[in-house]
């Protein structure tokens, strides 16, 4: 089959590799119909996530048709059209029973690696480094899905792939980020990063009752998309101090909640961000957390900072003093995607939201390597790329 493989920093190649096969009895093999490139794939592309190996198959936003199921699969059958969550839950451990799927105890075969680095191991993830299990990803013609009864949602006929594909990651991720803000009537939510997850967080915040959403980015196309979704916007290149600007816009209080949809590769104009850039380049640090710093500094007292953006290591100059002094609630973590797939599919089917609004580019898998470069360089107003396998 054809697959997009990581071959080193800023190198993605289309390769011909063996087809996947059933390994365990709860597995299924899926013929991928549509996949997407995620913003977090760019962290891998840029070589800032440890434990990638040359040849790893990329991709964790995937859907397709079930071709084969293992002998212990109960609910999914050959021919079903399914969306696959990016995180892999076993469905049986304490965390899965509590719908905390990304904290699954049993799906990371390389659990010693994160255990040693971070003191814990979470769930395995598709196409997201060996620290997260080393599972082959879904930017390929076929993918093996472990515990498919847990890790899938069946899509009814008659609905286009593009409307439901983002149930695999960015829609639940944006939604959980907004839900973590515990939004109340009249609330203002600030969202750092108007990329795909940020866009979903903006729409989700409104779905959950936010009065105002303020999006912060410096790419005009992204800010325009945010405005199309009802948000006010700030281009951080145009303001001297984002914290002061947000305080001004909120009558001196600060936003009720702040969402960091940027993660470990933040841009900005502060001296601290310049230090972060240097440390990341010289491998002295894994993360550039400037968006998170600003979110914490901006949030109102007793507010909530929600972090769907990905972080990997130990943060430098983290404003814990401000967090403590203001009594902030910090909520973060990989998304428990499976928990949100059904309710969010229902919202799509009811017409409350069509997540395909975020798509800006449609490609064939053969165009994948170039699309990674374009997406990373934000060329041609790239926001969200979906790919067909044929």
């Amino acid at each position: 089959m054809k697959a997009l493989c990581w071959e080193g920093k800023k190198e993605i190649e289309l390769k011909h590799v063996h087809d996947p096969k059933i390994i365990n009895p709860h597995d299924a093999i899926i013929r991928v119909t549509t996949a997407a490139i995620c913003g977090s794939d760019l962290h891998l592309f840029n070589g800032v996530v440890p434990s990638m190996m040359k040849g790893d198959i990329m991709g964790h936003e995937t859907m397709g048709e079930v071709m084969e199921v293992g002998p212990l699969v109960k609910n999914i059958k050959v021919g079903d059209r399914i969306v696959i969550p990016f995180d892999i839950g076993c469905g049986s451990c304490h965390h899965c029973e509590e719908q905390e799927y990304s904290a699954c105890d049993n799906t990371n075969p390389n659990f010693m690696m994160p255990q040693k680095l971070n003191g814990y191991s979470g769930a395995g993830l598709f196409g997201f480094s060996h620290m997260y299990g080393g599972y082959a990803g879904g930017q390929a013609e076929f993918i093996r899905v472990p515990f498919v009864d847990t890790n899938s949602i069946v899509i009814p006929p008659g609905i286009d792939d593009e409307k439901v594909l983002f149930l695999s990651d960015i829609f639940p991720t944006g939604y959980m980020a907004a839900e973590n803000c515990n939004i109340k009537r009249g609330d203002t939510v600030a969202v750092w990063g108007a990329g795909p997850v940020g866009q979903m967080a903006i729409r989700s915040a409104f779905l959950l009752g936010a009065e105002r959403v303020i999006a912060i980015d410096h790419y005009e196309a992204r800010l325009q998309m945010a405005r199309d979704g009802g948000a006010e916007t700030i281009n951080f290149d145009d303001v001297d101090a984002i914290v002061d600007e947000l305080r001004f816009l909120t009558g001196g209080q600060g936003p009720d909640s702040c969402i960091d949809a940027v993660g470990m590769e933040a841009h900005g104009h502060s001296i601290l961000n310049a230090v972060d850039q240097f440390k990341q380049k010289t491998k002295l640090a894994l993360d550039r957390p400037d968006a998170l710093r600003r979110a914490i500094q901006s949030c109102r007292k007793e507010g909530t900072v929600s972090v769907p953006g990905v972080y990997a290591g130990l943060l430098d100059k983290f404003p814990l003093g401000a967090s403590f002094g203001k009594g902030l609630t910090l909520k973060m973590g990989q998304t428990h995607t499976q928990k949100y797939m059904k309710p969010l599919l229902d919202r799509i089917l009811k017409g409350e939201i069509d997540p395909s609004f975020v798509i800006t580019h449609r490609i064939n898998i053969a165009e994948g390597p170039q699309a990674y470069k374009n997406f990373n360089d934000k060329k041609d107003e790239y926001i969200k790329v979906v790919m067909k396998m044929q």
Partner: protein
């Protein structure tokens, strides 16, 4: 040592492990979300022990070639088979967690004629228990062995029957 609801069972599980001295013993514990009798029953089965100890992750060596020598309601005791290179004993103690929150397995082992580095010791016992937990809770051990990757790119001659 009561394991009745509301009691602190972690103390019970800890004190139920015979103290063997940290220099020689390997210790660890894990919680499995299944009732005690089910957990013991699965752990007793030699085929399950074989599964757990086979195909260990890279860097973890299997020192155990075990045979079950004694069982009770809350303990299994294993020893290396007579012809094994390593002479060792492995004890698994089982204690119920309160409010139906599963079972704590505490493992301790002694390798009498073999010294492990400290890191190897903790890794070995953690891997052993983590894999048992996965097998009990899910019926399988997560694996990516044999999955495709670009490291095994097909040769031109193999590409004839490509999808």
């Amino acid at each position: 040592m009561n394991n009745t609801e509301g009691q602190v069972t972690s103390v019970a599980s800890r004190t139920s492990v015979p103290h063997r001295g940290k220099e020689k013993g390997l210790y660890n514990s894990i919680t499995v979300t299944r009732p005690l009798d089910e957990v013991i029953s699965i752990c007793k089965d030699p085929t399950n022990v074989e599964k757990v100890l086979s195909d260990l992750p890279e860097g973890i060596e299997n020192f155990f070639d075990l045979t079950l020598v004694s069982t009770s309601d809350d303990q299994l005791r294993w020893e290396n088979k007579p012809k094994s290179k390593v002479k060792g004993t492995l004890i698994m103690d089982f204690a119920s967690r309160p409010a139906g929150r599963g079972t704590i397995i505490t493992s301790s082992a002694v390798l009498s004629n073999f010294a492990l580095k400290k890191e190897e010791s903790s890794d070995l016992m953690y891997v052993f228990l983590k894999r048992f937990k996965a097998l009990i809770e899910t019926g399988e051990l997560a694996s990516t062995k044999g999955q495709p990757s670009g490291r095994d790119e097909l040769k031109a001659s193999d590409k004839k029957n490509l999808h």
